[in-house]
């Protein structure tokens, strides 16, 4: 009995690596500390009522952001471990298998559990406020989206200490990811972690599409919308078409692994190329899904901090939409070398290059928004300015990669690694950081410290170039991605060492940002006006942090940049007492949290093939759905008295 138990535990828990034992201890201590603090300060009730059951888009946004910053930390540590292993030839810091797990989890986490939630966090924070809405279209679904993402991410992360992590690359190409070549539970964790969070992403895509189309305030035409909201619409429309493909692809792979089907093995008539096509039909639009909102943020930031209307608004909208459409016609460029005919490769080469056209137009429009403006170098603006050269070079190397015959040389090399990190960090991460600094006062009511922010900014930027520029050269030197070691004879050592140093710089930059947040909670400049940046759009017309109902009286707008117009015309922000009416709001609900937790249980059961656990999990899910469908008491009215109290606290009531 004891031996059986020991045997089970040695398979169940990941063993044999001191790094992982260290992590086990750290995880245990952190959990214990959190539980202790919650008990000690008697905060369980508060946590449940205010956060775990909330359907308030602003709180959900904050939870998304916290979760994604934690994932950024995990993905960043993965990156540093890899760069440590590659810093010099023949290092024995990580074994091959461990290295393979780390790059797989690094890629998956950074795209799906860091970039996506950070993006949804910013959607949640800004979109309803920008379009003058009191919440998203489906608040309950919004909470469910978040918890599905959260439990999906937790399931994926669990593989690190239990059962073993996936090691077949972040897109898990078969046949490598099939049962014969990846027999452990790692790929199952991968499939179920992404499936759960993918459902959340798809639901968010639906939610924000409907929110933007149906919930704009009075007078706001589509062509009056702030560009961030436009970019969210473009991104969400792309999600609607891309994420179902991901769901189906992973489901088929799981059926291959779980039920012995052969969708993606050549034996019995399947085809791994089918998987590669399918996964990139999601995967390529996915990069536009994450970068389009960043483009929206840059547009807001550049316009605000140049004290100017955005240049070429219609062009900007058109280019956003055309990118989201063209994004669907480029997926083959991820495998030009997989034997498609010359004509197919030529088609996808040209559609890929064509993406550079609307993207380039956006850069010109940003430049000419600054032209004849008055540029204030604030923290959001700094990141936006840093983005332009970074993305220009990243875009140029993207065009280089799109030249199919030349791509035969870049494919799977470090040139490619440098390119996509340049666009994803320079485009997406810089953009989301700009957005985070921009909307931070709106979220929390204080600004982030500038001095620490500058340290973080320069460490990130210098580190970025030091890390990734050498990788272009390494690509030309024949270094391929995903090698865990190399010899002195290759001549790759100096550049790899420099690259690793750059990665450390970025890591320190991140630490400065954490410090900046902690420091500013205590000492940050408080935002009493609700409009700390002299903003142009509606979110700045209400107090910071926004009251739970957002707008005491829904505004009526007359065109773009309506808040700016009001300020120019000398109109104040006051609310007339006679306009106040009770506000209809959704009630909090524990169901999204509980149902996602049951999904987690089911996912864990599927991962290990434990039928009893699958049954419990799915039964719980069904129970939650039933409970929700029979619950009638789902909304309430905020009484006028309470609105009056809140608004007069901010001095906005006449």
């Amino acid at each position: 009995m004891l031996d059986n138990l020991k045997d089970f535990a040695s398979h169940f828990f990941v063993t044999g690596d001191p790094l992982i034992y260290g992590a086990d201890v750290a995880i245990g201590l952190t959990m214990a500390a959190i539980i202790f603090v919650l008990f000690y300060f008697k905060k369980w009730g508060w946590l449940w009522r205010e956060w775990l059951t909330t359907v308030d888009h602003k709180k959900i946004g904050i939870m998304y952001i916290i979760a994604s910053l934690l994932m950024l930390f995990r993905g960043g540590v993965d990156a540093l471990l890899m760069r440590a292993q590659l810093a010099l030839p023949n290092i024995h810091f990580l074994q091959s298998e461990h290295y393979n797990e780390i790059f797989t989890t690094h890629g998956t986490i950074m795209i799906l559990f860091m970039a996506m939630p950070l993006m949804f966090g910013l959607f949640n924070i800004a979109v309803p406020l920008q379009i003058g809405a009191r919440d998203v279209a489906y608040p309950f679904l919004n909470a469910l989206s978040f918890w599905m993402f959260f439990f999906g991410a937790m399931l994926f992360n669990l593989s690190f200490v239990i059962g073993g992590s996936p090691a077949a690359g972040w897109l898990a190409y078969p046949p490598l990811s099939e049962l014969t070549t990846s027999p452990g539970v790692g790929e199952n964790f991968y499939i179920w972690g992404i499936q759960l969070s993918g459902v959340g992403s798809l639901a968010s895509g639906i939610n924000f599409t409907v929110t933007i189309l149906k919930m704009r305030t009075k007078g706001m035409k589509l062509m009056d919308m702030p560009l961030f909201s436009w970019s969210v619409l473009a991104s969400c429309l792309t999600i609607l078409l891309a994420f179902p493909v991901l769901t189906v692809t992973l489901a088929l792979l799981f059926i291959d692994r779980f039920a012995g089907a052969h969708f993606f093995t050549m034996l019995h008539g399947g085809n791994p190329m089918m998987y590669v096509n399918l996964i990139w039909m999601w995967g390529h639009p996915e990069v536009y899904i994450v970068v389009l909102p960043a483009f929206g943020i840059y547009s807001e930031v550049v316009s605000t901090f140049s004290k100017k209307k955005i240049f070429g608004y219609k062009s900007m909208v058109f280019s956003l939409m055309i990118i989201s459409v063209l994004g669907y016609f480029t997926w083959v460029h991820h495998f030009f070398t997989m034997g498609a005919s010359a004509n197919v490769n030529a088609f996808f080469a040209i559609t890929t290059m064509a993406i550079a056209i609307p993207t380039g137009v956006k850069i010109f429009n940003w430049l000419f928004t600054m032209f004849r403006g008055r540029i204030r170098i604030t923290q959001p603006m700094l990141w936006t300015l840093a983005f332009i050269p970074t993305f220009l070079v990243g875009g140029a190397t993207g065009v280089m990669l799109a030249v199919a015959p030349a791509d035969y040389q870049y494919h799977n090399s470090y040139f490619l690694i440098a390119h996509f990190h340049q666009t994803l960090i320079g485009g997406v991460v810089f953009g989301y950081l700009a957005g985070l600094y921009y909307w931070w006062p709106k979220m929390f009511g204080f600004k982030l410290n500038v001095k620490l922010g500058l340290w973080a900014f320069w460490l990130w930027n210098i580190g970025f170039y030091v890390c990734f520029m050498p990788q272009y050269a390494l690509g030309f030197m024949g270094m391929t991605r995903r090698v865990y070691t190399y010899g002195w004879d290759m001549g790759w050592a100096p550049l790899n060492l420099i690259s690793s140093i750059g990665a450390v710089f970025m890591g320190i930059g991140f630490i400065f940002q954490v410090w900046q947040i902690l420091y500013s909670i205590k000492y940050g400049e408080r935002d009493t006006t609700g409009d700390p940046w002299d903003g142009h759009t509606l979110e700045w017309s209400i107090p910071s942090p926004a009251p739970e109902y957002n707008f005491a009286v829904l505004p009526e707008v007359k065109g773009r940049d309506d808040f700016w117009r009001r300020k120019e015309e000398g109109l104040d922000n006051k609310i007339k007492e006679k306009d106040l009416k009770p506000i209809h709001m959704p009630k909090n609900s524990g169901i999204p949290f509980i149902m996602s937790a049951f999904w987690f249980v089911a996912g864990f059961g599927f991962t290990f093939g434990w039928t009893w656990m699958i049954v419990i999990g799915l039964a719980g899910v069904a129970g939650c759905m039933l409970a929700r469908s029979f619950s009638k008491n789902n909304d309430y009215y905020i009484p006028v008295e309470q609105i009056r109290k809140t608004e007069s606290k901010y001095g906005r009531l006449v």
Binding site: P175, V361, L367, G373, P405, T480, L495
Partner: protein, 302 residues
């Protein structure tokens, strides 16, 4: 933050980047992609240069404009530069910056299409090509010479100046066959035979590797491509025929097992092994047009 600080910062970042790129001991002979030794690699290099040049036409002026605008339109007291907060539209400017990228992509597109088609044909027409069948295994490379009857593991000898048609497959996870100095790569996939034309102009030893991740031993899947004058190549074949052992089905089964391998030579190999491995991995479902260089005529029969 003062303006000087920002500009100095940008300069510093730029300098570091350039220093990292150029001064770090990556002499040009190590940048093997930029130092091709055959017509295929050269075609690709010319496209690389063309794309860099065309991109530079946009990137460099835009960077210059960015710096100019940042300096001139900073929000500081006494800045006399024109301020037009409502100026947000100019048809002429928009036409220019939609137009320039369209023209550039148009030019690059034409050369890309030409290049894609060029690479599907043998690089030179007046010499008879040779065929080498490549199988990527866990985690080694097997090369077979159907005309010469010999086989090698983890190294491959080719005659210089002769176009080589590599036929590629995998008996295991898919990999990618890459010899940067001779030209670009192509995937090896189970159940399929892909084709890649390469050619070495002159004798020499060229670095080759697997480029698509295949698991634990992937980093060690490197091989040398040794190009020799035709006469020496013939001697080498003869030498292998005379001295190396024959590869049996058992030998192949051993090679297929996961693990690394030293370089090996075989004087012969089991008949039609390459075809059999393709069929065994599901190739019987595929009916590829033997005369085509790609899978455009692929027919799945089931």
């Amino acid at each position: 933050m003062k303006k000087r600080g920002l500009l100095n910062g940008i300069k510093a970042a730029g300098l570091v980047a350039f220093a990292a790129f150029f001064l770090s001991g990556c002499s040009s002979d190590q940048l093997i992609v930029l130092d091709p030794k055959g017509p295929v690699g050269r075609t690709e290099l010319h496209l690389i240069y063309l794309s860099v040049l065309l991109c530079a036409i946009v990137v460099i002026p835009v960077l210059a404009i960015l710096v100019y605008i940042l300096v001139r339109y900073r929000d500081k007291p006494g800045n006399k530069a024109l301020y037009q907060p409502k100026w947000d539209d100019s048809k002429v400017l928009e036409v220019i910056w939609w137009g320039i990228p369209i023209v550039i992509i148009g030019i690059l597109g034409v050369y890309t299409v030409k290049g894609v088609h060029t690479l599907t044909k043998p690089p030179v027409k007046n010499v008879n090509p040779i065929t080498i069948q490549v199988t990527s295994l866990d985690w080694k490379w097997l090369f077979e010479y159907p005309d010469q009857g010999v086989a090698t593991v983890n190294y491959v000898e080719i005659p210089a100046g002769v176009p080589v048609q590599f036929e590629l497959t995998a008996d295991g996870p898919m990999n990618s066959f890459w010899v940067p100095q001779l030209g670009g790569q192509e995937y090896t996939m189970p159940g399929m035979a892909m084709r890649l034309w390469l050619q070495a102009d002159q004798p020499g030893t060229y670095f080759g590797s697997g480029a698509n991740f295949t698991g634990e031993g992937f980093a060690h899947m490197r091989f040398n491509v040794i190009a020799k004058p035709q006469s020496e190549f013939n001697q080498w074949v003869k030498h292998v025929k005379d001295t190396a052992p024959a590869m049996t089905n058992d030998d192949y089964a051993k090679l297929k097992k996961q693990g690394l391998s030293h370089v090996k030579s075989y004087s012969s190999y089991p008949e039609a092994r390459f075809r059999k491995v393709i069929d065994k991995n599901g190739g019987q479902y595929m009916n590829m047009d033997q005369n085509k260089n790609d899978m455009s005529n692929m027919d799945m029969k089931h």
